[in-house]
């Protein structure tokens, strides 16, 4: 469904991605793990059109989308939950969610979409009139995911949704991703939380220094000696 081929991209003189290829099939959960600065966020920005490609291609359902303007990507059915959540802090929670349904594909069903999001995150319903900036980190992450879901995506991209959150909150968010996946939405999860994301994913990629250095099923990657050594720490070897 999503096919990223040989993507090279960067900022100014700094090239970040050196020919990255990843794919996500319909309804699949794919995790992308790797250290800080490997280019994970850059790859997501390139996929959604926030960053122009220097080479390579991004195709969605067989059609190239890397030349399309960034605002048209969400209408294609791809939504990104950006790093740092990027909520509209001075707007209410509900306004944030409704903006998620700005694209024509979701505009008609925004009321149902809102109810669906409140079903998934009941805590948000009671805070709908609160300013997004006044919410806790975990709640903000829920709003960010909910806002992306409001566009009725067929593929959800998430950039470090667990960053800075308490383990219990992270567990809740991973459970929600499972639920979203059960509803038939593809999930492409970028995480530093290697253990949790690979355990959740059907398949995984390891991105290091702008190149894919490993790929396989989540299960296999978790057993891979290099991955264990580099990301799960020496103690993980004994487990």
């Amino acid at each position: 469904m999503l096919d990223v081929r040989d993507v090279r991209a960067g900022y100014g003189d700094v090239q970040v991605l050196f020919g990255v290829s990843v794919a996500v099939a319909a309804g699949e959960i794919v995790a992308l793990v790797g250290p800080n600065g490997a280019g994970k966020t850059t790859l997501l920005r390139a996929i959604v059109g926030l960053l122009p490609l220097r080479r390579g291609s991004v195709s969605w359902e067989g059609r190239p989308i890397h030349a399309a303007p960034a605002h048209s990507i969400v209408e294609q059915g791809i939504a990104l939950v950006p790093e740092g959540r990027r909520l509209f802090a001075r707007m209410t929670l509900e306004e944030n969610l409704l903006l998620g349904a700005f694209a024509p594909r979701a505009l008609g069903g925004r009321r149902e979409g809102l109810e669906r999001v409140f079903e998934i995150f009941p805590r948000l319903a009671e805070r709908r009139r609160q300013l997004a900036g006044s919410l806790s980190g975990g709640e903000q992450q829920m709003v960010a995911i909910g806002r992306a879901l409001m566009s009725r995506p067929r593929l959800l991209l998430l950039d470090e949704p667990s960053l800075g959150l308490a383990p219990r909150v992270v567990e809740g968010i991973l459970e929600v991703l499972r639920q979203i996946h059960r509803d038939g939405v593809g999930v492409f999860l970028v995480e530093q939380n290697v253990q949790a994301s690979l355990a959740l994913a059907d398949r995984g990629y390891v991105l290091e220094n702008g190149r894919i250095s490993g790929a396989g099923s989540g299960h296999d990657l978790l057993r891979d000696p290099h991955v264990r050594q580099a990301y799960l720490g020496p103690l993980a070897m004994d487990r």
Binding site: V48, F88, L98, L99, A103
Partner: protein
């Protein structure tokens, strides 16, 4: 005491127009991060449009306002396409500098054009009802200016609700707060910029129409009005259209008080003194915090 109250009243009446002019400039600055110093000249054009519609065709200025709004909206679209659209492609710090240059150039050109076409004469619309005055508790209320204030308030409230409830109004607020996140929502950010610029220009035009009825216009009023609008924005802070309008009322009242207390010639100085004091004491503005439009 009565003199003071009378002056205060007149100050608040003109303050409504300060607020209206500032709201347009504030919207453009808040959303595009572009400072259009030709805002006052656009206001001047709106004033002349109403003036000539009255002088040549006898159209009532409060009616011609309905034509000036879409007219200046269209002009705003054109100016954005021709001039300011290029600026927003740059980074934010570069935007302001470039927009200042473009704005000054535009201001000079529009001023020269106005002198050439319409001479430097002072113009004012004198309708049949121009002299009507309502007297309340010994205070004289010029009806035309009162109606202008009311209309300005209607436009401000209308804009407020558009930004609050309208689909594109919310898109404009989202863009003002975080344009990249707005792109992720599927908002065509350039269209939000275009729309905000055109609305801001239309508000300048409307303010100009009202100035030409209650007061007077000439080709040189632009700079003065741009300055007033800037003072109001500093006074009220960015981010709230209604707050900006109140900032206009406060400036009008402060000018009027100073005219009575310190003397008429110092009227203009007061605004600049306030400008300075607010920047020193509370640079984020008196009424609101930074950020998006509420």
């Amino acid at each position: 005491m009565r003199l003071l109250a009378q002056q205060l009243l007149l100050g608040i009446l003109v303050g409504g127009l300060y607020g209206l002019a500032a709201a347009g400039l504030s919207l453009i600055f808040g959303v595009l991060r572009v400072l259009n110093v030709a805002h006052g000249e656009l206001l001047m054009l709106g004033g002349y449009a109403s003036f000539w519609l009255f002088a040549l065709l006898g159209v009532d200025p409060f009616v011609s306002l309905l034509g000036v709004l879409p007219g200046l909206f269209l002009l705003g679209l054109c100016l954005y396409w021709l001039l300011f659209g290029f600026v927003v492609r740059a980074h934010e710090e570069v935007r302001i500098k470039n927009s200042l240059l473009i704005g000054f150039g535009l201001a000079l050109a529009l001023h020269a054009l106005a002198v050439r076409l319409w001479t430097a004469d002072e113009r004012s619309i004198t309708t049949a009802y121009a002299g009507e005055v309502m007297t309340v508790g010994g205070l004289k209320l010029p009806l035309v200016r009162l109606a202008s204030l009311a209309l300005a308030l209607v436009l401000i409230v209308g804009l407020h609700f558009f930004l609050r409830r309208g689909r594109w109004g919310q898109a404009i607020r989202a863009t003002a707060e975080d344009w990249e996140a707005a792109l992720l929502m599927g908002i065509d950010v350039r269209r939000a910029y275009l729309l905000a610029f055109a609305i801001g220009t239309a508000l300048a035009g409307a303010a100009g129409s009202l100035v030409s009825v209650g007061y007077s216009i000439n080709p040189s009023i632009g700079l003065e009005w741009t300055l007033k609008a800037l003072i109001v924005i500093v006074l009220a802070g960015m981010g709230s259209i209604v707050g900006t309008f109140f900032g206009g009322l406060v400036l009008g009242a402060a000018e009027a008080l100073s005219a009575v207390v310190v003397g008429g010639p110092y009227r203009e100085v007061v605004g600049l003194v306030i400008f300075f004091c607010v920047l020193v004491a509370r640079p984020e503005g008196l009424f609101t915090s930074r950020g998006a439009f509420r």
